[in-house]
């Protein structure tokens, strides 16, 4: 069974004070996420990531379309007891302490009274907030609120966890802990749907990613596939103050930075290039095949619409060009 089934979900807002015009926040979105999958939802700021999550949480109503989570409607309370949600930059009742807040949320989610306080303590320990559990939330820092947000999202042992920008506002240690946490959730067989614009996190964690831009889903793919394609090119880095003439004649694109040269050239020219370096007695630093990274996929997918429309026919040429633009 699919964990999340989004069927042409669409949202437009009315903007303007006097003359209200609809603004499309999310174009019809169709997406299926399988159970046990870690799915990364990527896109620049304002792309529609948060809108999608709000729609799925039933916080805003869709203009058109529906979605099903764990096979149930999005306003079904039975479904809601099996999902956890961390909003973007979470903010909680600041008159409560962390312990009181988690207890309150446990009550609302139907966590049985018997094991509730033990469960709350366990969650506080898991996100490293045991020491400040009794402090009022108005004294919490942004990172601590983020940790608490994670604790409340997994408090009731949900099957499916939605995280909106889980790494934002965290220090490097915190980010690492969140990464570990998501990995643990995957091991426990949970489905994780998280939005981010930090690509390295997505690359490290996700099974699949979807790229959204200007309210439109631009592409979905398995991370393993996206990052394993080699492009028949190699990148050579070596010490030199000038770019050797022999290299440019081999069709290399070279760039000088400080006393290092970074050159990208076709794979079949690899040996010839190394020969050039040997002849010039230059010291080689590295030679690596150029792989397409998630970043390139992302850049490709989030290029402005205008460019896509202009030379939509010349699909291959454009792809090649953009890859070069990133790789070099």
């Amino acid at each position: 069974m699919a964990a999340i089934e989004i069927l042409d979900l669409e949202k437009s807002y009315l903007v303007g004070f006097w003359r209200k015009r609809p603004k499309l926040a999310l174009r019809p979105l169709r997406l299926t996420i399988e159970e046990g999958e870690v799915f990364g939802f990527l896109g620049p700021n304002g792309a529609g990531k948060t809108t999608t999550l709000k729609l799925l949480m039933g916080l805003v109503f869709p203009t058109a379309g529906t979605a099903r989570i764990l096979g149930m409607d999005i306003d079904d309370p039975r479904m809601k007891s099996q999902i956890g949600f961390l909003p973007e930059q979470p903010y909680f009742y600041d008159h409560l302490s962390a312990r009181e807040l988690l207890n309150y949320y446990g009550q609302l989610s139907g966590v049985p009274a018997k094991g509730r306080s033990a469960r709350v303590e366990q969650m506080l320990a898991r996100v490293g907030l045991s020491d400040s559990a009794g402090m009022q939330l108005r004294k919490f820092s942004k990172g601590m609120l983020q940790r608490l947000g994670l604790a409340q999202a997994i408090l009731h042992d949900p099957k499916l966890v939605f995280l909106d920008e889980p790494m934002s506002g965290l220090d490097p240690m915190g980010r690492r802990e969140v990464r570990d946490l998501i990995q643990q959730l995957r091991h426990e067989g949970k489905t994780v749907f998280f939005s981010t614009h930090i690509l390295s996190d997505a690359e490290a964690l996700c099974d699949r990613v979807g790229v959204i831009h200007q309210g439109e889903l631009r592409g979905v793919g398995a991370v393993a596939e996206l990052t394993s394609q080699t492009q028949g090119k190699v990148e050579i880095i070596f010490y030199s103050r000038t770019v050797p003439a022999g290299l440019t004649s081999l069709g290399a694109e070279a760039r000088l930075s400080g006393d290092m040269v970074n050159a990208v050239l076709p794979e079949e020219q690899q040996d010839a290039a190394l020969e050039v370096l040997r002849r010039e007695r230059l010291k080689l630093i590295s030679l690596t095949p150029v792989r397409s990274s998630l970043e390139e996929y992302y850049v490709l997918k989030t290029r402005p619409t205008e460019v896509r429309n202009e030379d939509g026919r010349n699909e291959d040429g454009r792809t090649e060009e953009s890859r070069k633009g990133v790789g070099v």
């Binding site: 039975r78 930059q89 008159h95 939605f162």
Partner: protein
């Protein structure tokens, strides 16, 4: 995760009434921890106390003055409290986005609004009770004993309290109307 005796498969939802109760209690707790509330109660008690002074310069109708001013203080400050707390009851939750983590749980929107309403009602009842004690203490100070007619002061207080609750129904109904509408403009 080694869950503590929890079983998400059993789908323990908890009852609707208990959820409303939890929300009401949290609303009450929020109001009680707000310092503004104590200032208002202090002012109401101060006004009841002032009634005693005003009563002293009136001849023969001391009790009447104390009752009048006392009831006025209770209803006036009751309304002020209802407005101060009621106005932010739902809109503050939307603005501060505390609503998100509540509505993403098995809580229906109307349960949330009803819970908020009962929380505000509870706060008003407790406050009216505290202020009523102030009025009766003032009466006791003036007359040194209670009379049979003082029962009517109690009746008047109940009417005031009912009025306040009616008022807070209006506030809650108005604010609970459209949590969705607030989201327009934040299309990010």
């Amino acid at each position: 995760m080694n869950s503590v005796g929890m079983n998400s498969g059993s789908m323990n939802l908890g009852s609707m009434n208990s959820r409303i109760g939890y929300i009401a209690f949290n609303t009450f707790r929020e109001a009680v921890r707000d310092r503004v509330l104590y200032n208002l109660i202090a002012f109401a008690l101060l006004l009841s106390g002032a009634a005693i002074l005003v009563g002293e310069i009136s001849i023969d109708i001391e009790r009447l003055v104390v009752v009048n001013l006392g009831l006025t203080a209770v209803s006036l400050f009751g309304v002020v409290i209802a407005i101060f707390i009621g106005i932010g009851l739902v809109s503050k939750e939307i603005d501060k986005r505390t609503l998100y983590t509540v509505l993403s749980r098995p809580v229906r929107r109307w349960e949330f609004v009803v819970g908020k309403f009962f929380g505000l009602t509870g706060t008003l009842v407790v406050n009216t009770f505290l202020m009523a004690i102030g009025v009766f203490l003032a009466l006791l100070y003036v007359a040194h004993r209670f009379e049979k007619m003082d029962v009517w002061v109690l009746v008047a207080l109940l009417i005031v309290a009912t009025g306040l609750i009616a008022y807070d129904v209006a506030v809650a109904a108005d604010l609970g109307a459209a949590p969705d509408a607030k989201n327009s403009g934040s299309a990010a």
